[in-house]
Subunit: 118 residues, 2 copies
């Protein structure tokens, strides 16, 4: 496998990067939902922690029944077992990325894992 | 630990989300570099795959000596051993997120790990 892979994400409602980039440690999707819409189901996870980053617009998440307002610049970590659903704003679309990683899978963080070459 | 954590990222040059969100499967940073600047070193990793997503502006990466142009919407996976350095455009700032996960750590991808509640 090459030492890197690159792709470009346009304005699609949902782009999954796993296969496009050959990801082995994360599933990442880039999503846009129109105003007034929502993910049409509540879901949880078995093993995967999810991280959401809001790229533009606003909306909300409902996590175990609690409403969490979301706008550009907000980042959320959601535990695997939490029951979650995402909504665009009533009058505002929302664009966000969703990152799934296996809970407790990261051994070395930046300071431990990086090697400075010069 | 709560079933979720939330933080808001402003215009800082670099915000690391690991401690702010209690991440256990990824290190994520949100970065902005002014026009004409670069990360002042080349680096590689021991175990961690890195994924870069360009949020705005443009610039380039140099990966094992190869120039890779970058602009808003581009996403890159970089293998742990690859030697990499990132540059803002000569006349253009660049904002990007960097996600580190342990290579080969993800077991179940979306279709296997998600549980639909209703």
């Amino acid at each position: 496998m090459a030492n890197y892979q690159k792709t470009t994400v346009g304005d699609s409602p949902r782009t999954e990067l796993h296969e496009k980039l050959g990801l082995t440690g994360a599933e990442i999707s880039v999503n846009t939902m129109p105003a007034g819409s929502c993910v049409p189901f509540v879901h949880s996870h078995k093993q995967n922690e999810e991280i959401y980053g809001i790229l533009s617009g606003s909306g909300k998440a409902v996590i175990d029944g609690e409403e969490v307002p979301l706008q550009k610049g907000d980042w959320l970590r959601v535990s695997p077992a939490a029951k979650r659903q995402f909504f665009a704003g009533k009058d505002t679309p929302i664009s966000y990325i969703c990152i799934q990683t296996k809970e407790h899978s990261l051994g070395g963080f930046t300071a431990d894992d990086a090697v400075i070459e010069k």
